[in-house]
Symmetry: C2
Subunit: 558 residues, 2 copies
Amino acid sequence: MSGRNRLIYMPLGGAGEIGMNAYVYGYGPEGKERLILVDLGIAFPDMDSTPGVDVILPDIAWLLQRLDRLEAVFITHGHEDHVGGTGHLFGQIQKPIHARKFTANLARRKLQEKGQDPKNVITAAPFPAMIDAGPFQVGFLPVSHSIPESAALVIDCPAGRIIHSGDFKIDASPIVGEPFDPDLWAEAAKPGVRALVCDSTNVFSKHPGRSEAEVAPNLKPLVAAAKGMFVATTFASNVARLRSLAEAGVASGRSICLMGRAMRRMTEAAVEEGILTDFPKTVSPEEAADIPRESLMLIVTGSQGERRAASAQLSRGKYFGMELKEGDTFLFSSKTIPGNEKEVAHIMNNLSEMGVDVVTADDGLYHVSGHANRPDLETVHKLVNPQVVIPMHGEHRHLREHAKLAESLGRTGLVVPNGTMVDLAGNAPKIVDHVETGRTYVDGSALVGQFDGVVRDRIRMALNGHVVVAVMVDDDDDILEDTWVDIRGLPEVVRGSAPLAEMMEEHLAGQLARIDTRTAGDDEKLEDLIIKGVRKVAQDEIGKRPEVTVLITRLAAE
Amino acid sequence: MSGRNRLIYMPLGGAGEIGMNAYVYGYGPEGKERLILVDLGIAFPDMDSTPGVDVILPDIAWLLQRLDRLEAVFITHGHEDHVGGTGHLFGQIQKPIHARKFTANLARRKLQEKGQDPKNVITAAPFPAMIDAGPFQVGFLPVSHSIPESAALVIDCPAGRIIHSGDFKIDASPIVGEPFDPDLWAEAAKPGVRALVCDSTNVFSKHPGRSEAEVAPNLKPLVAAAKGMFVATTFASNVARLRSLAEAGVASGRSICLMGRAMRRMTEAAVEEGILTDFPKTVSPEEAADIPRESLMLIVTGSQGERRAASAQLSRGKYFGMELKEGDTFLFSSKTIPGNEKEVAHIMNNLSEMGVDVVTADDGLYHVSGHANRPDLETVHKLVNPQVVIPMHGEHRHLREHAKLAESLGRTGLVVPNGTMVDLAGNAPKIVDHVETGRTYVDGSALVGQFDGVVRDRIRMALNGHVVVAVMVDDDDDILEDTWVDIRGLPEVVRGSAPLAEMMEEHLAGQLARIDTRTAGDDEKLEDLIIKGVRKVAQDEIGKRPEVTVLITRLAAE
């Protein structure tokens, strides 16, 4: 058995959520496979499950333990959920990162921000060019998406060819970047494809996807009809949309001002790499201040309601000297990613209070998705005609639905969630291992494990409040009288009269006066007793069970 | 001026959010208006803004200060955002509560739960019957919605008639309860209507609303085609839907089992009040355990992903002996209310992992909205033909859009957000006052004010972590050496080596060794110094700025 070469596939992130993509491929004898990593993305935290966390990374511990077997990293495109982890994790990985030039530009910036040498990012030419990586040859197969230069990967090894779709849509006129090229894909599929590892995001969307080119004709009349300032927000990485928006502004005689760090970074990278050659001239916010509002268009970050992005700032008041007012128009040229609804609605309501007319893309006029819908997935299954379809880039329900779609088209569809290792070398794919996977939190400058208890404790304090008790014990194991209680995140005064902390102090004083020195002498027993006492008062008085921290100080004999 | 009688309208909740409805009307000389309250609802908390809170109530302080002028409370229908506050607040209000019989049944249960006399809830006959309440006569005008016996209110006083729509849709065949009756509405409008205070929920939905009767024909083939157990979740208060679901089950030879407290409470109330006369016979979960799964249909609570409701429990494993498995079907006969997407998706993914087929209402086949869409609002504006339309039951953006709609149809549209008092007695409506409004949190058994800082502190602990420091000062104002630091919600160990708490203790020890007795003798200065010290270490080591609590114990001379 061990003499046979395996072709393994194992997602460490991205097959169980939409975000933090990280897929491992390996070829070689069991346990000695030479490895490549496809994508290294981040996910975004939320208050419900990850309060205080800055960024979520896939837990790549499995890979870090096998770094000697890792040949290289390949990044399909420049979205944060695919490239966002490179900066955070390159320090530990230290292997060449391959990407097409626009993506490489973004990855280099990320390495630089973390003090790493950007030369570790190598610009790849598109397929049919192939890059050697141990037993693998990898080609970047251009594909349309909502960011320039997205690529599927053609992954060859002695056991056959795999096509890893990356994020994609079928778009014949993507405005910026290459259209989807069925002939090129057919050529890539020609030698026979063992597995298509495929984007599942829009598997529940039943209509064929729409082209980026459909948006621009709708934007022009909208901008032309607007009276005051026109503000548009969209995903900064959607360079095609930025261009359509800016051109609609220029057509209405407006000067274009880009606001928000990501907006500038993306356009800068696109210009540097020669992707964006004819973007309208822009003005700075300072210059914009002198332009009459009806001659101005702002294109801003924050379409997902991010608190510190330009959209949210503008909805709260002045931002870089700009201030919206009655008669202005604000366009969300974007969809709201599930989970961000409240934040986006909050901005819309603020704008409404200012008298700003808010226009959304709910009718489909001002936004199109970047992912292949169900009929488009069918098209690609047929075009690639793989033996096996392995859905990725989706929650479990997306993966399952996509696998069922593959089966309904007469192919094997295999759900391979994060941490599941499948061997594709034999006649039929075979699940060969399960590995612990999870998430790593970037929290300030620290990395925190998902199961370290840090975030769990934060959630508990947020739900239950936190009571702190300081108690002193002298060298005879007698409790000193001044036991202190401090509460945080609980009502200070109960029913308009007694302060809660004082009631707890009183209760503890009574309790501690009665205990024997055996209990007083044992930190654990003492702590237990105090926690119970505090919780009893809290339960009786306010019907809650707070978190409790007890600080016991033992005075040494002098 | 003061001799003239005013007809005032002021929302205390519901005009600025979808939730916690509470609208005040008054008639009389300025400052002496006799008042009525329409609806007294709750809103639901979330982790982002109200962690740990159980229920949100409108802040009715303004009304409580004028209780001697309050005549009565009128509840339009039995949804929690309209009736949910009665139990919590009746103790403070102590005025008669009027409602139609089904709503009254629910309100009585709420009073009873809080130990209040349910006789304070008075069952109202429908319009043209009118109830006297000081200078007001109020009639319950039946209207279709997604719960039985919803009513608009016809509110008469010497200054004219107001129609307060409550929540409504235009449904000619609502399955359970009265169809929308345009003739009755025309009759109510006939004497002339000064103001229509009107539901704004669906003002952005451009197509005419659909009837509840459209759902049942889609349910039958779906249930009939299902192989294993069939589980359906919907809003428990949608009694019509419960009936359609149960009938689809029976038609496929399935026994019906209701699961979840709200499901039982709602059907019980509907049966008690004679609204639900022919609901199929149900079986208990215990009985259901003996029925083959292909002959069973569960109708369960938790369509919004609520953690403790039946849907979530079933998605996690066994619940009352029931357990889902491969081949079962789970239908969400509901829409996901914005903000609940992640919780609902979480359940769907759990079910997907079990191999359960999840069916949603995304196609519109298995759910219809309970609110009037934009064309339906136009219909009602025309039918009622008021002088003024005042949008309510909406976020600011809904209110503004609805007012614009009214203006576009040639009527005055007036945005009156929470806390704004408008006088409707004169020829033109006039804003006469602004009152502080807000939210009151039910937190365990305590009531907490929105600005009390309790929830703010919880959020800060969740975002930043909490460091607790205990320091002792002797009677000479010397710091004792054993300063204790305890951390919660922060990484215990930094960069794999030094424990964070110890690093803080060390830093503080160094700092405190150098201070003079003036600082040591001043609680505030000492606390300040310690907080700064702790934050410096945290910033340097983990890049965070934690919350800090300092407990200073001063030892008295013995």
